[in-house]
Symmetry: T
Amino acid sequence: MPEPLRIVVLHGPNLNLLVFREPSLYGRVTLEEINAGLTRQAKESGAQVECFQSNHEGELIDRIQESSRIADGIVINPGGLTHTSVALRDALAAGALPVVEVHLSNIYAREEFRKHSLVSPIVLGVVTGFGALSYTVGLAALLDHLRATR
Amino acid sequence: MPEPLRIVVLHGPNLNLLVFREPSLYGRVTLEEINAGLTRQAKESGAQVECFQSNHEGELIDRIQESSRIADGIVINPGGLTHTSVALRDALAAGALPVVEVHLSNIYAREEFRKHSLVSPIVLGVVTGFGALSYTVGLAALLDHLRATR
Amino acid sequence: MPEPLRIVVLHGPNLNLLVFREPSLYGRVTLEEINAGLTRQAKESGAQVECFQSNHEGELIDRIQESSRIADGIVINPGGLTHTSVALRDALAAGALPVVEVHLSNIYAREEFRKHSLVSPIVLGVVTGFGALSYTVGLAALLDHLRATR
Amino acid sequence: MPEPLRIVVLHGPNLNLLVFREPSLYGRVTLEEINAGLTRQAKESGAQVECFQSNHEGELIDRIQESSRIADGIVINPGGLTHTSVALRDALAAGALPVVEVHLSNIYAREEFRKHSLVSPIVLGVVTGFGALSYTVGLAALLDHLRATR
Amino acid sequence: MPEPLRIVVLHGPNLNLLVFREPSLYGRVTLEEINAGLTRQAKESGAQVECFQSNHEGELIDRIQESSRIADGIVINPGGLTHTSVALRDALAAGALPVVEVHLSNIYAREEFRKHSLVSPIVLGVVTGFGALSYTVGLAALLDHLRATR
Amino acid sequence: MPEPLRIVVLHGPNLNLLVFREPSLYGRVTLEEINAGLTRQAKESGAQVECFQSNHEGELIDRIQESSRIADGIVINPGGLTHTSVALRDALAAGALPVVEVHLSNIYAREEFRKHSLVSPIVLGVVTGFGALSYTVGLAALLDHLRATR
Amino acid sequence: MPEPLRIVVLHGPNLNLLVFREPSLYGRVTLEEINAGLTRQAKESGAQVECFQSNHEGELIDRIQESSRIADGIVINPGGLTHTSVALRDALAAGALPVVEVHLSNIYAREEFRKHSLVSPIVLGVVTGFGALSYTVGLAALLDHLRATR
Amino acid sequence: MPEPLRIVVLHGPNLNLLVFREPSLYGRVTLEEINAGLTRQAKESGAQVECFQSNHEGELIDRIQESSRIADGIVINPGGLTHTSVALRDALAAGALPVVEVHLSNIYAREEFRKHSLVSPIVLGVVTGFGALSYTVGLAALLDHLRATR
Amino acid sequence: MPEPLRIVVLHGPNLNLLVFREPSLYGRVTLEEINAGLTRQAKESGAQVECFQSNHEGELIDRIQESSRIADGIVINPGGLTHTSVALRDALAAGALPVVEVHLSNIYAREEFRKHSLVSPIVLGVVTGFGALSYTVGLAALLDHLRATR
Amino acid sequence: MPEPLRIVVLHGPNLNLLVFREPSLYGRVTLEEINAGLTRQAKESGAQVECFQSNHEGELIDRIQESSRIADGIVINPGGLTHTSVALRDALAAGALPVVEVHLSNIYAREEFRKHSLVSPIVLGVVTGFGALSYTVGLAALLDHLRATR
Amino acid sequence: MPEPLRIVVLHGPNLNLLVFREPSLYGRVTLEEINAGLTRQAKESGAQVECFQSNHEGELIDRIQESSRIADGIVINPGGLTHTSVALRDALAAGALPVVEVHLSNIYAREEFRKHSLVSPIVLGVVTGFGALSYTVGLAALLDHLRATR
Amino acid sequence: MPEPLRIVVLHGPNLNLLVFREPSLYGRVTLEEINAGLTRQAKESGAQVECFQSNHEGELIDRIQESSRIADGIVINPGGLTHTSVALRDALAAGALPVVEVHLSNIYAREEFRKHSLVSPIVLGVVTGFGALSYTVGLAALLDHLRATR
C-alpha cells in the first residue's frame, strides 16, 4: 500500500477572521470548519492534510520551505499577499511541489488591484469564487493530479 | 423527487481540435472524451448536461440565450473569446443563470493578453489549469452551488 | 414626388433579449415594440425602415454591405460589438452611407471598457442614454440630415 | 392644465462665435439662430427655454445652481470645459435636474483629448455630431423624458 | 500682546450648495454654519478668520493673491478645482503663506479622478474625510503651526 | 513527380468589397481579379491555390481548421480581425502549417489601433503595403519556403 | 456615566526611529513623546489610548484584529506599508471600527510611489503633513466622530 | 504708409505677481516693466501693442475673441492655464490670428505636468526660458512673420 | 529603351555579421551572398542595385541623402536602428523615393521593443520574417511598383 | 574692448537638405543662407559664429565637447536626435555653456513622438516654429543672455 | 591601529534555500559557504562581517535599525523584498550607513517585475549577476569606499 | 602556461570628459587614470586589457565586432547609449563573449530615463555606483568568471 499523500493547506492574512468578514461575499463559515472539512475529505481519500494560518508573510514562507521537504503538494489561499508578495511567490516556486491557489470570493469581480495575482503564473491551477467550496474543489483537483502523475 | 438539474456545457473556438493542439500544455484528450466524462459525472449526480462547441461567437450567444430559458447553470470554456468578446459577456450577464468559467491551461502563466478575462467579473467562479479536470471540478462546484441555493 | 428615403436599422448581439435584460437600466420594452415604433415614425415622415437583429458579427457585416447598395442611411446599435469589432467599423466606413450610432443606456456611465466605441469616430452622430427614445431621436436626426443634404 | 416645463439651455466658451468657427466642421449658423429655433420648438411643445452663453466657467456654474431651483431640466453644450471642468460636473451633479449633453461636431472623431467628457457619466443622455440639430434633438429627448417621468 | 493671527478660509465651486449636495456623503450642514463655527473657533483661540466662497477660479486666485499680503495663513477647500487648476496651485505657491487643504469627504474613496490633487504637493498639510470637522481640525492645525513657527 | 503544393488563401471581413473601398489607399482591383492572379501564379509554379472570403470569424476559423488537414500553407489577410481576434490566432497557431500574413495597405501608416496585429507573432512572415502585390509576393515567399523546407 | 472611549494608536515600520530620521522633514520628536502626548490628550477628553509600534506587518495585523474586539477606533500611521500592504488594508476593512490614517510628512509632496495609499480608500479620514500634530489632530477628529455617532 | 500692425499681449493667471514669484526662476522684473518694454519695442518697429493680464480664464477668452476682430496677432503667456484649458485653446484656434506662445521659465525643466502645453499645437511658434526676454523675442518674431506674410 | 531602374540596398548595424549571428533565427547566409543574389535578381530584371552596409547611423543617413539624387528606390533593413532612429526616418522621408523596409526575422515574434518600427509609417511596404528571401521579395515588389507608377 | 562673444551653431541630421525637405512645413531656404544670415547678425552685434552640420551623432558630440573649451554659448537644432539621444544631452549638460535649442517647425504640432525633447530640460531656452527665424531669434536671445550675465 | 570596519551582511527571504533553488541560474553554493567566504574575505582585509538571513521583512528591518548603531556599512541581498518593500527601503535610508545591494542573478534579464528595485535609488552601489561572486565584489567595493571616505 | 586572458574595455560617449563632468557625482578622476589602473590590475592578474573610448555609436559597434574575434570578454560603460541603442545591444549579443556593464554613478538614483538599460538583459552582470571603482570591480568579476568557466 502506498504511503498516503500529504498536503499542506495554507491560509494567509485575515483568513482567521473568516466568520466576521464581509459576510455577504463569503457566506458564514469559520476557518476551523473549513479545516475540519478538508481533513475529513483528505481522510476519505486516503490522504492527510495539515492546515496553517498566519498573518505574517515570513511565517508562511517558513512553512512553505518546510513543506517542500515533507509534503506532496500545497493548497494556498494567500489572502492579501496574493497581489503584493514576490517573496511568497519565490518560496512557492523554489519548492518542487505542485501548488493549487484558491480564493473564497471571485477576485476578478472585486477592486482593480485584486485582479492581478503574483502567484498564479507559477501554480498548477487556480480555483476562485466558490466560497469554502473553493478549498474542497482545489484539494480534490490536487489529489487527482498527484495520483495521475505519481 | 425534484427534477434533475440541467447544465449546459459550452466550448468556444478551437476546442474541437483539442487532441491536436499544443499537446504539452493540455495533455492528450479529445473533446468527445471530455463531454462523455461530464455526461457520466452529471448522471451519477442526478443531473443532466448538454454539450455544445462552436467556432462562431454568434452561435455561442444564441445558445446562451436559449440556455437561459431551459437550463439551471452554465459551464463555459470561451477559448480565445475569453479575452475579446463583450457580446459573449453580455449574453452571460443577461441570463439569470450561475456560470462557471473553466480553462484547460493556466491562462495566467501564458501570454500577457491571455491574463485578462472579460467573462470572469460576471461569473460565479473560475477553475483554471487542471486540463480536462478543470471541467470536472467546475461542474461539481456548479452542481454543489445549485443544490445549496435551491 | 421623390422616392422615399430608405433606412436600415441594425441591432447587435443580445438586443433581441431587451425585455429581460437589466431592466433598471433600459426600462421595459421589447425589440418588436421599438421596431414597430420606428416603422410608424418613418412612415409618418414619408420614409421606410427595415430592421434587423443578429448575435453574429458576420451577419451584421453582410447586412451593412448589402445596405450600402440599397439604402440611404443606417441607424445602428452595435451592442457589445461597439467596443471590440474593427471589422464592423470597416464595414460601416466602406459604405458611403451616413450612419447614426445609438445606445439605450448612457455607455459613459457604465464600466470603463464600455466608454470607448470603435464605431463613433466614423459615424455622423451618436445618441446615447435615452432608452428606446435613443432610436427615435437618432432616426429623426438621420432623416433630417438626409433631407438637408439631398 | 399643467405648468409648462422650463428648460435652461447653456452654451459654454466660444460658442458665441459659432458662425466664424471652423465652418467645415459645424456648418454655418449663429448661436442666435439656434436659440431662436429652440425657443420656437419649446413653445410648440408647450414648454419654455431660457438660453445663456458664457466664456466663464464660474458664470456657468452660478447659472446651473440657479437653474436647479427654477427649472425642470438642462440642455448643455459645455464646449472646451467638457473635457477639463470637474467643478462644472459637480454643479450639474449637485442639482437634481436631468441633464442632456449636446455637441455640434462628433467629438469622438476629433483630437484624442476631446474624446473624454467629464460630464457624460452624470447626464441622462448625450447627443453629438448633428450640428445645430444636436440641440433640437437633445431638447426633444429631454422634454419626452420629463413628460414620461412626471 | 501679539497681533491676532489672521486666517483666510476659501471655499471653491459648489460649496455654497453644501446642504443640498449628496447628503449621504457630507452630512447636513450649511456653509454659513461652517463659517460661523470657524469664526467662533478662531476667536476663542485669539485669531481672526475671513471666509470667502466662489464658483470662479479667477476670483479665488484674486483672493489668494490679496491674502498673501494681509493674512498669516490659508485654509482652502478647492472643491472641483482641486484636481484641475494649475493656476490655483501657482497662486498658492506664489504666496509665502502656509496653506492647509481640507476636504469634507474622503476624496481617496471616491472616483479615480478625485484621488489626485494638484494642490497637495505645495501645502503644509491635508485633512480629508471628516465632514465639517475637516475645517475645524485644519484650522486648529494651522494655528498651532503658525504659533510654533512664529 | 512530387504532388503539387496546396495553398489556401483566406480573405477576412470586407475584402469582398475591395473595389468600392477607400480607393486611394488600395488602388482599383476586385477580389476576383486578385484570386484569378494568384491561381495563375500558383499554376505556373506547379502549385494549387484555393481562395475563400468571409465576413464571419467563425467561418474563417472553420476553414483554417480544415486547411490544416488538407493544405501545405496558408496566405491570410485577416482584415479587421487582425487586431481583435484571439480565436483566429489560436486557430492558425493550432494548425501545423506555415502562415503568411498579408495586408493591402501599410497598416503601420494608419490609425493607432491598426498597428498591432495579434496574428503576426505566430506567422512565418508578413508582407504589407503593396496593394494586390502583397498577395503575389506573400504567395511566392510561402512557396519558396515550402520548397526549401520540404 | 458612559464608559470611556478606547482608541488604539498604531505606528508602522521605522517610526520607532523617529528622532533619527530625516529630521528636516519631521522635526525632532521621539515616538515616546508622541505617545505620551496622545495619552494625555485622551485622558483630558475622557478617553483611553493604547499605543503600539512594530516593524512587522504581521504583528500590526494581529493587533488590528485584536483591536476590533476591544476598542472603539484606530489611529494608524502605517509608515512604508501605506503603499504596499493589501493585507493591512484588509485587516482594517474587516474590523468594524472607524480608522483615521495619519502621516507626519506631507506624503503628496514626496516621491511618486508615496502618493498612493492603499489604506486611504477604506478609512474615515486622513491627516497628513503636520508632523507630530497630525496624530493630535487625527485623534481629536476620531473622538469627535465617535461621540457624534454614538 | 501701411497701417501699423496691432498686437495684443496677454498674460495669464499670477503673472501680475511677477516680482514676488519664485525669483530664482524668473529674475526680478515687474509685469509693468515688461509691458513698458514691449510698448517701446513695438513703437520703434512701427507697431502697436496692447497688454492685458487676468487671473480669469473667461476674461482672457473674451479678450482673445475681441482681439480676433481688431488685432493682427497675439503674444500670450497663458501661465497655469497652458496645461489645463481647452477653452483657451479653442478661443485661440477660432480666431484667424497668428499666435506666439511665450514662457518666462523653461517649462520643460520643471514639474512633469508643466511639460505639456495644450496651446502649443495650434500656435505659430513658442519661445520659452529667457525670462522677460521671451516676450521681446516672441514679439519680434511675430512682427517679422506678419511683415513677411502681409 | 528606358534607362534601367537604380535601387540602393542598405543594411544597418550588425548585418555584416550575418553568418555568425543567432543562426537559429536567420539561417546561414552571408551578407555577401545576399548582395550577390540581389545583384543577379536586379540584372535579370533589367535593373541595377548598389549595396551598402554600415554600423554608423550617420553613414546610412549620408547614403540615403545621396541616393535621393541618384536612385529610383531604396530597400533597407535598418537593423537595430529600426526602433530608435528618428534621424534615419527623417532622411528616408525627406527623399522623394519609395522605400521598402525588410527584416530577416519576424520582428513581431521577438522582444517587445522590436515590435515598433519608427520607419514603417513612412515606407511603401514592409516584408518581414522570410530570412534572406525578405530582401528578394522586397526588391521584386519595389521594382514592380516603380514600373507600375513610372 | 572686451573680446567678441563666440557662439557655435550646430545643425543635426538632415538639416543640410533643408531646401528639399517638406517645403510646406519650413519654407524655402538653404542651410547656407541660414548660416550666412547668422554670421552677419553676429558680426553686427560684435560677436562671432561658427556653423557646423552633421548627420553623425558622434561628430556633433565631438564638436560640443570642443565648443565647451573655446566658445561662450551654443545654438543647436538637433533635428531627429532631439527625441532620441541621451548622449547628445549628456554632452550639452557636461559643458558649462548656456545652450539655446531651436526648431524650424513647431514640433508640438507634429507627430506624437516629436513632442518630447530630451534636450529641453537642460537648456537655457527653446525657440520653435518660426522657420529660419527661429535661429535668428535664438541667437539674439543667447547673445543678450551672455551680455547680461557676463 | 584603527578599529576594524564592521559590516553587516543581510540575506532576504528564500536565500537560506540557495542550494535547492533554480540551480541553472545561480550555480551550486550554500548560504553557509557564502557567509564563510565573506567572513574570510573580511578578516584578510582587517574587517569583520556579521551575516543574517530571514524570511521576515520585520526581522530584517529590526536588524537594519540595530546595524545603524553598531556597524559601518551594510551588504544586502533583499531577495523578493527588493521589488515590494517600501518599509525596507525606509529602514535602509533612515540609517546613516552606506549600503551595497547585491543579487546573485542578473535581475534585469528575468521577469518584468524583477527589473525594478525599490532599494537601488538609496544605496551606494549595486552589483548583480555574478552569482556568489556578487557578494564578494560588493563587500570589496564597500570596504574600499569606507576606507576612502574614512 | 595558458595564454593570458584578453579583455576589451569600452567607454561610451562623453566619458573622455570624465574629469570635467558633474564632479559631485563621480569624484575627480580622468579616463586615462582609470585606464592605467585597469591595465595595472589586469597585468597583476596575468591578463591584458585594451581600452577604447568613442562618442560614435558606430565606432563602438565596430570595436565590439572586432573584439568578438580577438578577446575573451568585454567591460563596457555605454554612457548615454545605455538607454537608447538597440544596435549596441545587438552587437554585444551577437558576439559570444561574456560582457560586464559598469556605470560610475548609481543610475537608479538619477533621472527616470536613466533607470532602464537596454544592455543589462544580455550581459553577465552589472556594477553601478562606485565611481571609478565600478570598473575595477567589474574587471575583477569578469576575470574570475572567465577563469571559473575556462
